[in-house]
Amino acid sequence: MNPNESRYLEFENIGKTFPGVVALDSITFGCQKGQVHALMGENGAGKSTLLKILAGNYQPNTGRIVIGGQPVAFDSTAASLASGIAIIYQELHLMAESTVAENIYVGQLPTKGFRIDWHKLYADAQRQLDRLGVDINPRTVVKNLSIGQRQMIEIAKALTREAEIIAFDEPTSSLSAREIEQLFRVIGELKAEGRVIIYVSHRMEEIFRICDEITVFKDGRYVTTFTDMAEVTNDDLVRAMVGRNVGDIYGYSPRFQGEVRLKVSGIMAPGLKRPADLTVRSGEIVGLFGLVGAGRSEFLKGVFGGSKKTAGQVFIDGREAHIKSPIDAISQGLVLCPEDRKAEGIIAIHSVRDNINISARRKTLIGGTIINTVWEKENSSRRIHDLNIKTPGDLQIMLNLSGGNQQKVILGRWLSEEIKCILLDEPTRGIDVGAKNEIYNIIYHLASEGIAVVFVSSDLPEVLGVSDRIVVMRDGSIVGELSHDEATEEKTLRLAMIAEAA
């Protein structure tokens, strides 16, 4: 990319920090009119943060955005909209109970005196939809439309606001093949009209099909921009996205592995596209890697009985475990630390003690009915001590604990059970480095006691650093596996992103 070349949309030294995290570090690049510009990078590379800054959701700490030579600053999403920027998010923001036309013109409904001019509204909406070449009746209620059709409504909405810059965040993740074709045709037309298109996606095939330039981010930093698509290969992209130096903070060492403890065969659950198999030995840590939306959490939830599995069997120590609900799984020694700690893991308004004992207390009741307060107190104090949970006491409300300590409480909950297999879904997400290290050590300790561990993380170096074996998922299926020694970031990421490599 020629740095002197002037571009319509320019990011200059954009930096954004959150407490303890540098999300974006002095990002500088530009996008041209009439081109589709791809943003790529691993999970957490900073793509979404940049889009949110462009949308006015976040304010950058440093740097500025320049549009058509004019520096702009957005203190709100409304300001961003007014400057001709539209972001089409993965989750669409439409009013499900209103008509297509109302959604397209929300906030700027045509009026006749005090009344809404319905006639004009529907006619205008029809014109917009015709222009996009999509066959949707403007009087249809949005909830009756498919995801792809809703996306078209979002695009129509952007066009009525004369958006010159349209950004798509993973637009194809829930579209059918036909809908994707339609989207690409529309993007082609928007491009021909001379708009700036920003396209965020993990899917290589799509990027190569529709994009003219690719900018790669890594750990919140700008890596490079590929401007000549004819010269770029899959491998170039993957290399640009990984290639970082990380010292060994994981403290991995091989352990003794025993018999197969957990065997999952042919599991189908909501969110999975193909039956999934997995075996984990006693003492083994299996890392499960995949990009966001690859189906890792869905797989674990299906195994644990947290969602309804539609097919498949789970064996623990060679015996079939009939798991219909979390209770069945827990009583047979299979437990799950869920992905979304706040929503699915902790009971935030209750005490550390209650959160630790919620499950295991059923085994310690006095006379089979009365809660054994003495045991509850002892058990929670012991877990707090063993796991080094930082809290003033076991009656502290969970809300007041840091993320890492909340995670340790959930681990304490399961250590109070006699577990054979533990499924850890993003146990280190959003916690500081020190606590991460403690969690790794807990994981190693569990494995050394013969427990089968499945470890899910979106952090690639972490998965590689901690696991004995890496299983990779893509698009709702398990697509391959690598041993600790053969796994590199490049190989793993290629499996997770590129269909042919399987």
Binding site: P326, I371, P392, L401
Partner: protein, 331 residues
């Protein structure tokens, strides 16, 4: 979220640096304190308030709402509610009176009433837990059904009871204390024990605190909710039977608006409407506050119409107090 420096397990406190934290006292015993102050004020300023007879009147007046509140606490802490309790009180009373008239067996009469309550409780529980319907709508529907059933069974006319032994339940004393008051106290003790000392009670609280996290931690959601609504139906029916005994007839219009009084008492007693928080001891305070205010207004000859206004104002005050406490807790 800040990291709390590690210290050995110490007594709980929101903020140790500030030393003793008064908000804990307020959080735990606030309503009890309000009741004591209210009671003292009434005793000092209202003639005839602090007399044995008036105490009995006060106790009797809160007995039905007290029993119903026992069940309502469980519904509220698991972030649901039960609007059918008032109608179940009426229906169970009518069923009891009807069975008594037909069979002249007190045992069968009481059983009939309890079965009626259990039936409506299980019906609520089924639709709310298994069918995952909204509790407000389900219990609004069963409220209509139970009220309609009560009117249908008795043909719109109260069913009188001639068996004088049955009056014992509502119209006898034990060491000078009227039986309904003792029965209410027993209900408070049993349900209070269930709430804080059994897995069922803790699971009810956990469900209200975070339903999905509880489910993934091994709480049986359907079983717990079924039990909650079944018990609420049962205790409401029991209240209905005691009321029927006191009135010596089964009346289909009993318990009108009772569900709202029970909810008011619970909210006054510090039960969080968003679920997860509630203790029986403070609910007792809530019930007594409502009863005392009503009793005081009666003694002061304040008209029934005005009393409605006062009750509404108290409820508004209570819910804002609840919100304020939540804010304190969240820091």
């Amino acid at each position: 979220m800040s990291t709390v420096p590690q210290t050995p397990p110490a007594p709980p406190g929101r903020d140790e640096a500030k030393g003793f934290d008064y908000s804990i006292i307020w959080d735990k015993y606030g309503m009890l304190l309000v009741f004591i102050l209210l009671f003292a004020a009434c005793s000092a300023f209202i003639p005839n308030f602090f007399s044995w007879i008036n105490m009995k009147v006060l106790g009797m007046s809160v007995s039905v709402v007290g029993m119903v509140a026992c069940g309502m606490v469980f519904c509220l802490v698991c972030a649901d509610l039960d609007l059918s309790v008032g109608a179940v009180v009426a229906c169970a009373g009518v069923v009891t009176a009807w069975v008594l008239r037909e069979t002249d067996s007190i045992f069968l009469g009481v059983m009939g009433g309890l079965c009626c309550g259990l039936f409506f409780g299980l019906l609520n529980g089924f639709f709310i837990s298994v069918m995952k319907n909204n509790a407000l709508i389900v219990t609004l529907a069963t409220q209509q059904i139970a009220r309609g059933a009560a009117y249908t069974i008795c043909g719109g006319v109260p069913i009188g009871i001639l068996n004088e032994h049955f009056y014992m339940l509502g119209d006898s004393d034990l060491m000078g204390i009227p039986t309904p008051i003792i029965l209410t106290a027993v209900c408070f003790i049993i349900f209070g024990f269930l709430l804080s000392n059994t897995v069922f009670g803790r699971n009810s609280l956990a469900l209200g605190g975070n339903a999905e996290a509880s489910r993934l931690a091994g709480v049986n959601v359907i079983k717990t909710k079924m039990l909650i609504f079944a018990l609420t139906g049962l205790v409401s029916a029991f209240a209905g039977i005691v009321l029927t005994s006191r009135l010596t007839s089964g009346q289909p219009m009993n318990g009108l608006g009772l569900e709202l009084n029970a909810i008011s008492a619970c909210v006054l007693g510090g039960v969080s409407l968003t679920g997860g928080i509630g203790k029986m001891s403070t609910v007792v305070a809530g019930v007594l506050i409502l009863g005392t205010v009503e009793n005081a207004m009666n003694l002061l000859n304040i008209s029934t119409f005005t009393q409605y206004i006062v009750r509404g104002a108290i409820l508004l005050a209570a819910i804002n107090l609840d919100q304020y406490k939540q804010k304190l807790r969240r820091g």
